[in-house]
């Protein structure tokens, strides 16, 4: 699903690489936490997976494609096969819940009939049935993140990438979101989640990948956040 081969990334005008010689593989159907302090290279890792950046050296394979060799015009098509969720939700404040989810389908040219069918389904799945016509501003943080997850999942992607999805949420809402992501993972979707949330990582007991100053320092199945090494 995701394979890094000796991947390094150095940004222009920076001495230390943001990511240094990272090699790892994430299989289909896995649930993986990506942990590490700020500046450890988590964001760079995710940006490389989304092909928002290209590696300086090494190669990144996502969904069976070598992103380094993927031409620019093929990138949108690649992104349609994965879902992304962010800490700040990234919803459109002037569109309703249903319109926000539908927007993701409209802009990739899905026909209206199909949109009208799948949007209520996915909103039910994330537990927002009955709130289709609310505006994002009227929802709690947890509910807004559910809308974002619905939008990411509406195309039934093989891979869901979440960048600190619980970073702006209280513990109770965080648990709800994690339950939802777990359910999505059980449908067969691979989930890669970057997080600072120690309680969640400790509780879920999934594979943990830890980065420190750009180096891969730990890759542990059924790990915890604060593993001492």
């Amino acid at each position: 699903m995701i394979r890094f081969d000796n991947v390094s990334k150095t940004y222009p005008k920076q001495n230390r690489p943001a990511l240094s010689e990272v090699s790892l593989e994430i299989e289909k159907g896995e649930f993986v936490f990506l942990v590490g302090s700020s500046g450890s290279g988590k964001s760079t890792f995710l940006r490389l997976c989304l092909r928002e950046e290209r590696p300086s050296t090494g190669s990144v394979h996502v969904l069976g494609k070598d992103l380094g060799k993927l031409s620019n015009w093929k990138v949108p098509h690649m992104r349609r096969q994965l879902g992304t969720v962010f800490q700040d939700f990234r919803l459109l404040p002037n569109k309703t819940v249903a319109q926000n989810v539908a927007f993701a389908l409209e802009v990739i040219g899905k026909p209206k009939g199909a949109i009208n069918k799948v949007v209520p389904e996915v909103l039910d799945l994330v537990g927002l049935g009955g709130k289709e016509d609310r505006m994002p501003g009227e929802l709690s943080g947890g509910e807004q993140q559910r809308v974002a997850i619905a939008r990411a999942f509406v195309n039934r992607p093989m891979l869901l990438i979440a960048d600190e999805p619980t970073g702006n949420l209280d513990p109770q809402n965080s648990v709800g979101i994690m339950k939802l992501l777990d359910r999505i993972n059980r449908t067969g979707t691979t989930v890669l989640m970057a997080t600072h949330d120690q309680a969640i990582v400790d509780q879920m007991r999934k594979r943990v990948i830890e980065l420190d100053k750009g180096l891969l320092v730990r890759d542990q199945t059924r790990g915890v956040y604060g593993y001492q090494h």
Partner: protein, 304 residues
């Protein structure tokens, strides 16, 4: 691509940047109106050249009695009928290679024409028919080959001068060409203003919608889908400008036809059909230019 979605995006975008949009529309309108005016002046000059060159003549003037004192080539006094006939025969030799037709205007006829055209002139009282020269009026196959007549007959006995009416027109055409160049230069300046405004508008528009475009890129909308609303927005603003420019040209045409044409009767003005030919050109050029400018701007500000 769903048309309704794109149209609503364009509407939202244009309203959001209303002041910028107005600036774009006005500057595009002015530059296109000037471009159109420049094209039309060129048409006008061509049409006048065709019309007038067909009518202009080369005149071979003969000496009058009065010229004997003032012009050295007429020192022998008024031209004799033999001298006039000799020039006439010379012109016949050049027919039809250079000369199309020739007519003779006697002093009496020339005096009458002159009096008809200047009825109020005080000179009419002073000058007699003797003062106006007789002439061969020559129409040429190719009006630009005046020099052949000039070299063949200037200085022949009894010939006072060979004059080309085209020279008078050349001044007028020179003026019109100057106007055309001026319109063209101002058009270029206005055009660069319009282009810079379009670039800026697209930039502001892309910035104010970065949230939408960010999400679009995230969910894998194609570049075409992400960029289309911006390009369509610029093209639509340019379309409004082109329509405004067309209105200005039609208004100018109306003014020329209804006001100027009745006052300046010696010029044949080009009409509505010429304007209608220029308008589609302006619309296509305006929209194309705006779309290309928007596209190039987006390449810089909306990366994948």
């Amino acid at each position: 691509m769903r048309a309704q979605f794109v149209l609503s995006e364009i509407g939202v975008g244009l309203r959001r940047n209303l002041t910028m949009t107005i600036a774009v529309v006005v500057s595009v309108a002015l530059s296109l109106a000037l471009a159109g005016a420049s094209l039309l002046v060129r048409d006008q000059v061509n049409s006048m050249k065709g019309y007038w060159y067909d009518k202009v003549e080369v005149s071979v003037y003969f000496c009058t009695k009065a010229d004997a004192k003032t012009a050295p080539q007429c020192a022998n006094g008024a031209a004799t009928q033999d001298q006039i006939d000799a020039v006439g025969a010379g012109l016949d030799q050049l027919t039809p290679s250079v000369v199309k037709t020739k007519t003779f205007e006697t002093q009496a006829e020339a005096y009458k024409h002159w009096k008809d055209m200047n009825p109020d002139s005080a000179l009419v009282q002073v000058l007699g028919a003797d003062a106006i020269p007789a002439s061969w009026r020559v129409k040429l196959q190719d009006p630009t080959r005046y020099d052949i007549i000039q070299s063949a007959f200037a200085g022949k006995p009894g010939v006072r001068s060979v004059e080309d009416q085209r020279k008078i027109l050349e001044n007028l055409f020179g003026l019109l060409n100057g106007l055309q160049t001026a319109a063209f230069v101002i058009m270029l300046l206005m055009l660069s203003v319009a282009l810079l405004l379009i670039v800026n508008t697209v930039r502001v528009s892309a910035f104010s919608r970065r949230r939408e475009t960010g999400i679009m890129r995230l969910v894998g909308a194609s570049n075409f889908y992400v960029q289309m609303p911006f390009i369509a927005e610029a093209a639509f603003a340019a379309l409004l400008g082109a329509v405004l420019a067309s209105g200005l040209l039609l208004l100018a045409n109306f003014g020329v036809q209804h006001w100027l044409a009745s006052r300046v009767q010696f010029i044949h003005f080009i009409g509505l059909s010429s304007v209608l030919q220029v308008i589609p050109l302006l619309i296509v050029a305006g929209m194309g230019m705006a779309a290309v400018a928007a596209f190039l701007t987006l390449r810089k500000y909306l990366k994948v």
